[in-house]
Symmetry: C2
Subunit: 246 residues, 2 copies
């Protein structure tokens, strides 16, 4: 399982992902699920992945091969709008999956992958898209400024409570980390290290990038402050009528 989240702010984008990969509970490994492409000086893409590791890896290889070919075929260098990047990546994902669809179905294995593509092209606005295994895709909106893939439920309540249009890019990144941590606590198949990246609009490179191990000092401090604060807050909640005083 996996948990990845992307958040769109007015001044940029936040990407967060865990690294745990499992083929059954007895084969658990770590793979980076955040993939960065900078095909030119005015275009920049981050791709997050959830689903079949084989499919995802082959999709990433195909994207790189299309870029290197540079022979006019569609690639992250030829797309003019970010939705075209989402469409192109969706088509690659479908083509990769189609190769194995029949054999995987026979084996009862799911080869699907769900992707998030975010970034910016030229003077177009930065944006994030979620690409379904079937290749179609949805975009974030001002009302729903975040997209999640994988094990999304545990990390959703804090996003819903805390995301605002005015918080800083750093606060938004911290919120993504809080959301990732909630998921890691509740689901063993989502785990550290955690990748966290900040993209500031117009920069065409990552503004900041973090990798937090479970015992990284900052991540530990954040987890402890959050746990302590929530516990203290809980015991200040209003009491029921006629409840014995604490």
């Amino acid at each position: 399982m996996t948990y990845c989240v992307a958040i769109r702010r007015q001044d940029g984008l936040i990407f967060g992902s865990d690294t745990r990969t499992s083929a059954g509970v007895d084969y658990v490994t770590s793979y980076r699920k955040m993939h960065v492409f900078k095909p030119g000086p005015d275009r920049f893409f981050v791709i997050l992945s959830a689903g079949s590791l084989a499919t995802t890896q082959e999709v990433i290889h195909w994207l790189a091969r299309d870029l290197e070919a540079n022979d006019g075929r569609p690639s992250l260098l030829t797309v003019k709008y970010l939705f075209e990047a989402a469409h192109y990546v969706g088509q690659v994902s479908r083509a990769v999956q189609n190769q194995y669809a029949a054999t995987l179905a026979t084996a009862g294995v799911n080869g699907e992958t769900t992707l998030i593509v975010g970034g910016q092209i030229g003077t177009e606005p930065h944006d994030i898209f979620l690409i379904y295994p079937q290749g179609n895709f949805i975009e974030a909106s001002d009302d729903t400024p975040y997209l999640q893939i994988g094990e999304s439920k545990y990390g959703k309540p804090m996003l819903d409570r805390l995301v605002t249009q005015t918080m800083s890019l750093e606060d938004t990144a911290r919120l993504a980390l809080v959301s990732l941590d909630a998921t890691i606590r509740s689901n063993l198949t989502v785990g550290a290290p955690v990748d966290l990246a900040l993209y500031r609009t117009g920069e065409f490179t990552l503004s900041r990038e973090f990798r937090f191990e479970a015992d990284s000092p900052y991540y530990v401090a954040l987890k402890e402050a959050w746990q302590k604060g929530i516990t203290e807050l809980f015991y200040t909640l209003p009491q029921f009528d006629a409840e014995p005083p604490r």
Copy 2:
């Protein structure tokens, strides 16, 4: 959909449930999912239900009929241990489902129900059991003192963070309400009014019982204090290295 939670403490039990029932998004109604049985002076049961409303209602009717028959057949009056109550309720659930299994399968409808049975019999310890649609069941433990049915993921992080062996029964009830509220915020198919009940060991009746509408003053005060507190807490979390001051 549904969310119900039961928590076992040393001095008693907490039960919480929402009331939203839906047959498709265009037929949404409210039904109580918390059912109380007091078949005798020294036995007391609470049943929470998630799944097919038709199945659940018929199970509850059968339990009442078996009690009223009082002719030696198994019932909540004849079981000697709480695990026997769980076993009996599981058998009733299976028998009810089996009546319709073939026709429901033809129609592509799921008639399953998942139940939580909690309570106390005589001098036996109070306890809670989760009964699967197939009739088998699991018990809470000191390590995992809560059981959830229905849409359980949104409400799990706060249970994991806050449940302790030493909190009061009232604090435990408040935690169940916080867990329910997290679920209601994130999933439209889980909704108020919310039922919340406290059982204190040896009392063989509910110690306290609440029904909170979405606009009940206590529930509103709790939601507001929790939301305000979490927001304030979030903005006190440690900042990244070299992050611009807030």
